[in-house]
């Protein structure tokens, strides 16, 4: 009588000590092969014969599974007898037996909570250190520029002035105008309740020049130009263009970073002033149409109630915002790792960080100078 255990992919003949492989031993059937192998009562102590005569196909991963399974059972690979295999299959098994040890089972990384948390903490630390180093380098480059003003890259500066400033004008005007309209409308509903329609001018003038226009403009520029700086510098770095600039004996800080920073510093206050005007025009329109405050009354009262200091205070925040946006954007661009994924991550980080910083700084200004009306 025969003592035979058979599954779909293999068959164990205990009398002859023979393991017959059958059917498709391929990647597509790997899970089934694994289960079938585990179902067989293979002995460890006896010499085994492996019979491949019933195989349809054998590929490397299936051969590897067989060898791993036998190894896991503690079978001596030297004591195996292979029969019924074609020349190609023997070669395949030899190759797999040779190479499989080199890299055994690779643990695929876990993305656990602890790991992620740790990674982010270290990343924050690394980022802070590299940002400080970057600020230092920019300061050094700026010092050099002050000593030798001819080093200024006028062409690049002009290009950046156009990209950051001129081309942003329609967007800045439209958005600030819209904010002015909405704010005057909502405020108008409140002041109307007290029949104090003309007070809308006081509120609108203060809110727009002191808070809304600087903030909205800075957020728009952070999203627009900050992202552009990071993506552009990052792609240049991936493409080794920044290295090429350095090798040509030029300073990437003079050629790339300073023109962008200076352009932003010059342009953001101007855009903010434009935003002030657009916002107030939007508010004046609503005041006339909704509250019956004529433009003449509106502007006369505005002149009376809005001190110049308030408008200047709002404008004075713009260079600070510009500096923060420019530094974050250029730093993230200059320090991306050299692959496609990093450029995307760095651009996202620029937009998020610079907007967060802009709002934090704005809050600090509000707390520090409450007396300016």
């Amino acid at each position: 009588m025969q003592d035979v255990t058979a599954t779909r992919h293999c068959r164990w003949d205990a009398d002859q000590g023979r393991l017959c492989l059958q059917g498709h031993w391929t990647l597509a059937h790997l899970a089934a092969i694994d289960a079938d192998l585990k179902a067989l009562p293979l002995p460890v102590e006896r010499p085994l014969t492996i019979d491949g005569s019933a195989l349809v196909r054998l590929d490397s991963v299936a051969a590897n599974r067989l060898l791993s399974h036998l190894q896991g059972l503690g079978v001596d690979p030297a004591g195996l007898a292979w029969i019924g295999f074609g020349a190609r299959e023997r070669e395949l098994i030899t190759l797999v037996a040779e190479r499989r040890g080199a890299c055994a089972a690779i643990p695929l990384p876990h993305h656990g909570l602890r790991r992620m948390l740790g990674w982010h903490v270290f990343e924050l630390g690394r980022n802070t250190v590299s940002m400080l180093a970057f600020v230092g380098r920019v300061a050094a480059a700026l010092g050099e520029l002050v000593r030798r003003p001819t080093r200024l890259r006028l062409r690049e500066l002009t290009v950046q002035l156009e990209m950051v400033g001129l081309r942003a004008i329609p967007l800045i005007i439209m958005m600030n105008w819209l904010i002015g309209v909405v704010f005057a409308y909502l405020l108008g509903i409140q002041v109307q309740k007290f029949g104090a329609n003309v007070f809308v001018v006081d509120g609108v003038g203060l809110a727009i020049t002191r808070e809304l226009a600087p903030l909205i403009t800075a957020v728009l520029v952070a999203g627009r130009s900050g992202a552009a700086f990071t993506a552009h510098l990052g792609a240049m770095r991936v493409n080794q263009e920044i290295d090429a600039i350095a090798v040509l004996g030029l300073s990437p800080w003079q050629v790339l970073v300073l023109p962008r920073l200076l352009a932003l510093l010059v342009v953001l206050p101007l855009l903010t002033a434009l935003g002030d005007v657009a916002g107030i025009l939007g508010a004046a329109l609503v005041a006339d149409w909704h509250l019956g405050v004529t433009p003449t009354t509106f502007f006369e009262r505005l002149q009376e109630r809005l001190p110049l200091a308030t408008a200047l205070f709002g404008l004075s925040k713009a260079p600070v915002f510009a500096l923060v946006i420019g530094l974050i954007a250029c730093h993230n661009g200059m320090t991306v790792a050299r692959d496609a994924r990093s450029v995307g991550l760095a651009t996202t980080a620029t937009v998020v960080h610079s907007i967060v910083m802009v709002i934090l700084i704005d809050a600090a200004f509000a707390v520090a100078y409450p007396e300016i009306k």
Binding site: V4, A6, R8, R11, Q22, G23, H24, T26, L27, A28, L30, A31, D34, A54, V56, R57, D59, S60, V61, N64, R65, S68, R88, E91, L92, T94, L95, V96, R99, R100, G101, A102, C103, A104, A105, I106, P107, L108, P109, A337, R338, D339, A340, R341, S342
Partner: protein, 262 residues
């Protein structure tokens, strides 16, 4: 109880085992107002390792892109495993793509994944495997191309050019292809690394029974790797045979090409 051999379903029948794996018939390609290919024809039987050479701009890479179905020729037919790529349905194309692998020139590894994840990616897409088995498969593939466990956890940007190519090859081999396309596998490698890569390819091709088409510029590769060399020149095949036969051809371009090797 099923004890006998199973019927050979989904497997190339025996009569196809010797038939052509790659067939290129009278391919003509017009790009930017110029005929890149002007009637290119050749066939590659199963198990053969073939090198495709030609000067820059002779459309080797374009032909390779047509062979893997990324581009289409202007006229002519490209068949893989007997299936006409232009007439194939998306389902057929998808099935075909499991049967061949492509090693891109720079590896084209996914930069957001580690090397191990890169190799695992095509397997996860096609097969449901428990994690221990998946890890074992990935480990084998990396072992086959000679990468260490240390390299497996790294991202492509942290690897050297040679290791990136090996990782790309491991990914190309992930789905156990029968046919392998290689675009300039030794470009950018040092001569020692390049010869090692050639020998590894030869071993893999022989042991795994692969059919291989390699596009190359590397003269040393020609003497090391392929069974047969096909030469493209001005849109046509001007020579086809073993490297010794091709080197003996009197054609001017071939003479200057082979004379670069002392």
């Amino acid at each position: 109880m099923n004890t006998g051999p199973q019927p050979r379903v989904g497997c190339p029948p025996d009569d196809q085992a010797t038939a052509a794996v790659v067939e290129v018939v009278e391919v003509r390609t017009r790009l930017a107002g110029r005929w890149i290919h002007d009637g290119v024809s050749f066939t590659i039987p199963r198990g053969q390792v073939v090198a495709l050479i030609g000067g820059s701009g002779t459309g080797k890479t374009v032909l390779l892109r047509q062979l893997v179905g990324l581009d289409r020729p202007t006229a002519g037919t490209v068949r893989l495993f007997g299936v006409d790529l232009a007439a194939a349905t998306p389902v057929q194309l998808n099935a075909l793509r499991q049967r061949f692998g492509l090693l891109f020139q720079d590896g084209a590894l996914f930069s957001n994944l580690t090397v191990a994840e890169n190799v695992a990616a095509p397997i996860i897409e096609r097969h449901r495997l428990p994690k221990p088995l998946l890890c074992e498969v990935v480990g084998l593939k990396l072992g086959l191309v000679g990468l260490s466990a240390e390299a497996a956890g790294k991202r492509p940007s942290e690897l050297s050019g040679g290791m990136r190519k090996r990782a790309g090859l491991a990914r190309a081999l992930a789905l156990e292809p029968e046919l392998l396309f290689l675009d300039e596998p030794t470009a950018g490698l040092d001569p020692i690394g390049a010869r090692e890569f050639d020998r590894m390819l030869r071993t893999l091709a022989d042991s795994l029974g692969l059919t291989v088409l390699v596009v190359t510029h590397d003269l040393d590769t020609l003497y090391e790797l392929p069974d047969r060399v096909i030469v493209l020149y001005e849109g046509r095949v001007i020579a086809d045979g073993s490297v010794q036969e091709v080197a003996r051809q009197p054609h001017e371009w071939l003479r200057s090409y082979f004379s670069t090797r002392k």
